[in-house]
Symmetry: C2
Subunit: 454 residues, 2 copies
C-alpha cells in the first residue's frame, strides 16, 4: 500500500479555508442571516430546559468562571469551548432549529454556537463570523449527504457530520490554511459520534450530541492551528468515516457544486416544533382538513405515506412519555396540528398527553410509500389518506412543507418565530430579546462580534 | 415495538456502581497497583511530546487556570475535565502503557487520568480511587471484547471502549447509583469515537483519542450524577454501539465472569516501546537469535506469522516517516530488537531511520497464520521463520510475550521501567520521580488523593 504523508488537500478543505463573505451571492448572504436569527430563537427557547441546564452547569464547572464567550440566556461567560458546549445543547432541544433536507442535518445547532463563541473570543467581524458559519453549513451538509441513508439509520447525522461542520466554521475563523483545515477535518472526523438509540427510551442524548459536536469540532480546529495533525483521508480512507459508519457513502457528494451550489440556501426553517420527518404529513393533513372541511371529530383514521427514514426514526415511538419524545410521535404531531392548526411548543407542553390528543394519536399510522421514499431526501413529500367517520377517503399532498426553500418564511415570520421562542424560554425579558433580534439582523455590518445579550 | 422507559439496569452498570476495593482478591489489588505505577511512567514519558503539548495548551486555555486537578509534568492544575484531557493524551504517546490482549484495549491511558483528576477534585481515598479504576478496567475490557474483531478493523478500541471505561471509573468515584451508571454508559457510548485512519498518514490522532475518551466519559458520568439520562440499551439496542460499529458483537462478553473473572489481572505490561501487535514476533525473533547464536548480519529474511489484526493495523505502515509511526512498523521494531536486544524509547528515537535499521527492516515480512489468528485475541502467539545468509531456516515461537500475565514484570522491573520512562520524558528531576513512584506504591493506604508530584 502506498504511503501518503503529503496528500494533496481535499477540495472541501480548500473551499472551507478560503471562503469569503463577499464571494457569496446576495441571496445566500440574506438566507444565512435568516438562519442566524432563526437559530437565536431556538437557543433562547431551549437554554433553560433540564438537559441543557445540566450541560451548562457542567460547562461552567469545568471551564473558567469568566471568559470572552457568552453562555446565552444564563448571564454567564466562559471559554469558547465551554460556551459552545452550553449553547449548542440549547439550540436543538425545542426542535425548532433549521434542517437541510438532502442531508437530514440540522446545521444551525452545531455551527452557530462554536462560531459565535470563537468570534467573541477573537473579536472577529460580523462578516467573518457569517462567512465561517456558511463554511460550516456547506461542509456539514455535504458530509451528511456523503454519509448517506445507511448512516442515518443508526447515527444522528447532526452529531456526526456536525463535528465536521463545527470544525470548518471555527477553522475558518481561526484562518486555518487549507492544509490545516484538512488536519482539522481529520481530528473532527475521528471524534465524530452520536447514535439514535437514545430516542427509544426518551433519553437526553440529543442535547449531548450537538454539544459534543460543537466542542469536539472546535477542539479539532484549535489543535490544527497549533500544528496538530489529523488523518488525510478521513472521509474515504479504508479506515475512515465511511468505512466505519456507512455502507452507501458517495464521495462525489463531498464536493458537489462547491462555490456554485449553495447548500446553505437549501436549508429549511421548521414551522412545527417537532421532528422534521413529521412535517410533510402534518401539512398534508391540514390541507385535507382545510380543503374538505374536515374537523378533528370527523377523522376515523389517518394513513401517512412516508419514506423509510421516517419509519426508522419515528417507528419506535409508540407511546411517548415525555414532551421531547412526543415530538417524534407522528400520531401526536398530527393530533396537535389537527386540533390547533399548528404543532408549536406551547401545544406540545400543554396537550401532548391530553385525552383528545391521545385519542387522535391512536388513529394515525405510517406506511412506506415508494414515491415519497424515492424522492427522499432531496424532496420531503407529504402524502396522507384520511378516512372520515362518514366513510369518505380523502387524499392530501404537499410537495414542499412550510419552511422549505420553495415555501420559506418571510423575515417578519422569522422575527415573530424567534420572539415567540424567546418568550417560550422565558430566559430574558421580551424587550431585551427584541432588541437583540434587531441587532442580529445587522450582523454583516458588525466590526466586532460582541455579546448578543449585552 | 415495545417502549422501554424503565428497563432494568444492565449487570455491568450494577457491577461498576457497586464495586469495592475490599471485594477484590489480593492478587487483583496488587496487579491494579502494578498497573497504576506502570501508567505513571508513561505519562511522564509522554507529557512533553509535541501532540500532547498541543492538547495540554488547549486544555489549559479552555479550562480554568487553576483547579483541583493536576496536569502531570507541567506544574499546572485545572478542572477535572481539562486535566483528564491533558493527562490522557500524555499516557499513550510513548506506546509503553498497558494492554489487555483479549480486547486489544489499552486501559491505563483512558482510566487513570480521568479517575485521578476526579479523585483529586473530590478528595477520594486511595482505595476509592483504585476501586474506581478497576471498575473502569473491568468495564472497558468487556466492552472491547463485546465490540469484537470487526470493530477493531476500523475503530481504535482504546478510544471507543475507552469512553465507557472512563465513564465507569468516574461514575464509581461520584458514587452513581446503578441506574445513574447506566445513564452514564448511554451518554458515553453515544460519544464513543476513534478511527484508525490517522495511522496511514502518521497523524497525531492517537493522543486525541485517549484525551477524547477520558473527557467524554468523565462528562457522561458528571451529567448522570446531575440527572441527565442516556440510552438504556446503548450496547445492544437496534441503534446502539454494536449496530453502528460492529458486525460480530457478542453480548455475552459484557457480563462474562463479573466479580469472579478479573480482567484487570489479565492486563499485560508492554516491554518494547511499540504497538503490541509487534511484540510476539519481536520476542520470537530474539529467541531464535539467542538459541541459535544468530547475529543481525546473519539474517537474510524474517517471516512473521501473524494474526489478521496485525496485518490490518501494521500493514499500511511500510516506510515510517515519524518515530511514532515506526512503532507500527513490524520491520522497524524487529530490526531495533535484533540490533539492541530491546526496542525501547531511546532505540526508536536514535535509530528508527538508521541505515542498519532500514536495511534489516526491509528483510521483514508478515504473513497470516491460521494457528496464531485462531488463538488471537485471547492469546498473542509469536511465530517467526528466520532465513539465514548461510541457508538455514530457523523457527522461533513465544506463547506469552514478555509482560503478559504468565510472563509478567516484577515490582522491581515495573519501578525501573517507570523511572526509565520518567527520565526519558525529562519533565521532572529523577529524585522527584523516584519519590513519587514510592508514594504511588502506597496508593491503597492514602486517606485522600493529593497531587502526585506535589
Amino acid at each position: 500500500m502506498k504511503q501518503e504523508t503529503q496528500a494533496s488537500t481535499h477540495p472541501l478543505a480548500r473551499f472551507a479555508a478560503r471562503l469569503q463573505w463577499s464571494d457569496m451571492p446576495d441571496a445566500v448572504q440574506r438566507r444565512a442571516e435568516d438562519l442566524w436569527v432563526d437559530w437565536f430563537g431556538s437557543v433562547l427557547a431551549g437554554c433553560q430546559a433540564r438537559p441543557v441546564a445540566s450541560i451548562t452547569r457542567f460547562a461552567l464547572a469545568q471551564g473558567p468562571g469568566q471568559g470572552p464567550s457568552e453562555v446565552i440566556g444564563h448571564g454567564a461567560s466562559t471559554s469558547p469551548m465551554m460556551a459552545a458546549l452550553a449553547n449548542a445543547a440549547a439550540s436543538h432541544v425545542a426542535e425548532q432549529d433549521d434542517v437541510h433536507n438532502g442531508s437530514v442535518f440540522h446545521p444551525a445547532a452545531v455551527v452557530f454556537p462554536p462560531a459565535l463563541a470563537v468570534a467573541q473570543s477573537i473579536g472577529a467581524s460580523g462578516a467573518e463570523l457569517m462567512a465561517a458559519c456558511v463554511a460550516g453549513y456547506e461542509v456539514g451538509i455535504r458530509v451528511g449527504e456523503f454519509l448517506g441513508r445507511s448512516h442515518y439509520k443508526v447515527f444522528h447525522t447532526t452529531a456526526t457530520a456536525g463535528t465536521l461542520a463545527a470544525a470548518a466554521a471555527v477553522g475558518r475563523l481561526l484562518k486555518l490554511t487549507p492544509a490545516q483545515m484538512q488536519h482539522a477535518f481529520g481530528s473532527a472526523g475521528t471524534q465524530s459520534a452520536g447514535l439514535w438509540e437514545f430516542l427509544r427510551t426518551a433519553a437526553d442524548s440529543k442535547q449531548l450530541h450537538t454539544a459534543h459536536a460543537a466542542a469536539a469540532g472546535l477542539m479539532a480546529a484549535y489543535l490544527a492551528q497549533d500544528g496538530f495533525t489529523g488523518a488525510q483521508h478521513i472521509f474515504t480512507g479504508p479506515q475512515g468515516m465511511a468505512a466505519g459508519m456507512s455502507s452507501d457513502a458517495d464521495p462525489a457528494r463531498l464536493t458537489d457544486g462547491l462555490g456554485t451550489r449553495w447548500a446553505t440556501a437549501e436549508t429549511s426553517f421548521k414551522w412545527h416544533a417537532s421532528c422534521r420527518h413529521t412535517h410533510p404529513a402534518a401539512d398534508a393533513l391540514l390541507q385535507v382538513m382545510r380543503t374538505h372541511g374536515v374537523g378533528t371529530g370527523d377523522i376515523a383514521q389517518v394513513t401517512c405515506h412516508v419514506h423509510q427514514g421516517a419509519l426508522d426514526v419515528l417507528g419506535p415511538v409508540v407511546s411517548p412519555s415525555t414532551v421531547h419524545q412526543s415530538k417524534f410521535s407522528m400520531g401526536t404531531v398530527l393530533a396537535l396540528a389537527a386540533r390547533h392548526g399548528h404543532a408549536g411548543l406551547g401545544e406540545f407542553d400543554r396537550d401532548y398527553l391530553a385525552p383528545e390528543t391521545v385519542e387522535l394519536r391512536e388513529k394515525v399510522r405510517m406506511e412506506l410509500d415508494a414515491e415519497v421514499d424515492t424522492a427522499y431526501p432531496r424532496r420531503w413529500i407529504g402524502k396522507v389518506t384520511v378516512q372520515t367517520t362518514d366513510g369518505r377517503q380523502l387524499q392530501g399532498r404537499i410537495d414542499e412543507p412550510k419552511g422549505d426553500p420553495g415555501n420559506t418564511l418571510s423575515r417578519e415570520e422569522i422575527t415573530a418565530k424567534a420572539l415567540r421562542l424567546a418568550a417560550y424560554g422565558g430566559a430574558v425579558p421580551a424587550a431585551r430579546a427584541e432588541a437583540a433580534v434587531q441587532q442580529l439582523w445587522q450582523v454583516a455590518q458588525w466590526s466586532r462580534t460582541a455579546a448578543l445579550l449585552a
